[in-house]
Amino acid sequence: MTDLSDVFFLAISLVLSGNNDLLEIVALSLRVSLTAVGCAVLVGMPLGAAVGLGRFPGKNIIVLFFNAMMGIPPVVVGLFVYMMVSKSGPLGWLDILYTPTAMITAQFILITPIIASLTRQVIEDLHQHHAQQFRSLCVPRHVAILELLREGRTSLLTTAMAGLGRAMAEVGAVIIVGGNINHLTRVMTTAIALETSKGDLALALALGIVLLAMSLIINSAVMGLRNRAPSVIGTVS
C-alpha cells in the first residue's frame, strides 16, 4: 500500500514540477493529435457536408463505409499505415516510418471517418429541417450550405472534439507507426504502455493523470457545448 501511495505522490510531484520528459511527451502528443484533427476537419467536414447534401447513386454505400470506419480498431489502422510506409511498402520512399508524420497520418485516417460521418449526419438533419423553408425563399445553394454549417456550428465543434478525444487516447496506431522512440515519437499513451512494462509506475501514472485531465477537459468542453446547444428540431408541436 505504501508503495502505491509513494508512486502516487511521486507522480503528482512530477506533474506539478513540470518534469522535462513529461512536458516533452505531452507536447508531442498534443502536436500530433491536434495536427491530425486539424487535417481531419479540413477534409472530413466538407466531405461529410457534400455527402449529406448530395443526391447521387452509391451515396448509401459511402455512408455505410464511413460508419463502418468509425469503429475500426486503431491497431488495424496502424498496421495499414505501417505496410504503406515501411521500406518495402508502396510509400516507402517517403521515409516517414517512425516519425511524427507517420503518427499524424495514422490518426488522420483513424478520425477522418468519424468527423465526416458525424458531419454528414448533422448537415443532413439540418437540411431536412430547413429544406422547405429555404426552397420557399429561393435561398441560393451556396448561402444554404453556409447557413447550415453555421446552424450546426456547435454540433460540428463537438464532432471535432470527439475526434481529438479519440486521437489522444489511442495507442495502437501510434505505437506501430511511431515506434515509441524517446525524444522523437514518444507520446503519452505509448509512454504509459512502456513505463508500465518497465516498472516505472511513477512516470506512467503521472502521464496517466495528465491524460485523464485532458480527457476530462475535452469531455466537459463537449458537454458544455451540448448543453448550450438548443435542440436541432424546434417546431411548433
Binding site: 422547405q132 420557399s136 425563399l137 438548443p230 435542440s231 424546434g234 411548433v236
Partner: protein
C-alpha cells in the same frame, strides 16, 4: 391547377384536383386532418411537383422568379438558431431589403418587438407563428400562403394577425390559407375549397358553403364541429 395528382410510394395522396384561384381574394382550404390541405398548398407553391396534371400561375409554370414573389407560413414554422431579429434579417437580406427600421417595424406589426434580441428557439408556439408571419411579410409577397398559421395564437393575437391579413388582401395580395377555426374561416374566407381524402369535394363562396354545404363529407364535417361546439359550451 389542372387534374393534379400526387403519388408517394404508390399511394395517391392528391387525386385529380382541378381548381382556379383568382387574385385579391382569400381562398381557404378546409377539411379533416390528413385530407391533403398542406400538400395542396405545397403543390401550389412549387415545393412539390405533381405526379400528373399541371399547375400554372397566370398561364406559366412556376419558376424561382415567380416563387420569390410568394411567401409561405408553414404549419410547423422553422427557425434558425439565432435571435428573433436575426431570423427576420436573414429573410430581408435575401430580398435585398435589409434596413434595421424595416425589421423592427415588421416585429412591431406582429407584436414581437420586445422579443427582438431573444433566441428564436426560446419562443413560445404562438410567438413562433407570429415570427413566421413576419418573415413571410418581409418577402412582400404577391401571394401569401398560410398553413394553419394561427393555430397556436391567443385571441388578441388572432385578432391582430387577422387584421394584418385583411390589410394585405386589401392591398391586392392573394391569400391562400388553411384553417380549422370555423369562426376564423367565416371572418376571413371569400371562398372555400373543401378537401376530403385527397379530393376536392366542394368549392363554394363562403356564405353559401356554410348555409348549405352540398357534399356529404362537408355536411358531416360541419355537423360534427357545431355539435362539439354546443357540447363544450354546455
Amino acid at each position: 391547377m389542372k387534374d393534379v395528382c400526387l403519388d408517394v410510394e404508390g399511394k395517391r395522396l392528391i387525386d385529380r384536383v382541378s381548381l382556379t384561384l383568382f387574385p385579391e381574394t382569400i381562398s381557404l382550404f378546409m377539411g379533416p386532418s390528413g385530407a391533403g390541405k398542406s400538400l395542396l398548398l405545397r403543390l401550389l407553391h412549387g415545393l412539390l411537383s405533381p405526379s400528373r396534371g399541371s399547375i400554372t400561375w397566370a398561364g406559366r409554370v412556376l419558376d424561382d422568379r415567380m416563387r420569390k414573389r410568394q411567401a409561405m407560413v408553414f404549419q410547423n414554422p422553422v427557425m434558425l438558431n439565432r435571435s428573433v431579429l436575426a431570423n427576420l434579417t436573414f429573410v430581408l437580406r435575401l430580398v435585398d431589403n435589409n434596413h434595421p427600421h424595416v425589421a423592427m417595424e415588421l416585429l412591431e406589426r406582429v407584436a414581437l418587438r420586445q422579443h427582438a434580441r431573444q433566441p428564436a428557439m426560446e419562443l413560445s408556439g404562438g410567438e413562433r407563428q407570429r415570427l413566421a408571419i413576419a418573415k413571410a411579410l418581409a418577402v412582400q409577397p404577391e401571394v401569401l400562403f398560410l398553413d394553419e398559421a394561427m393555430s397556436h395564437l391567443d385571441p388578441p393575437s388572432v385578432t391582430l394577425i387577422e387584421e394584418l391579413i385583411l390589410q394585405q388582401q386589401r392591398q391586392g395580395i392573394k391569400v391562400i390559407m388553411v384553417s380549422h377555426d370555423l369562426g376564423q374561416i367565416q371572418r376571413l374566407a371569400d371562398e372555400i375549397f373543401f378537401v376530403h381524402q385527397g379530393q376536392l369535394v366542394e368549392h363554394a363562396v363562403a356564405q353559401t358553403f356554410f348555409a348549405n354545404p352540398q357534399s356529404f363529407p362537408a355536411q358531416l364535417f360541419l355537423q360534427s364541429q357545431s355539435w362539439s361546439k354546443t357540447f363544450y359550451q354546455e
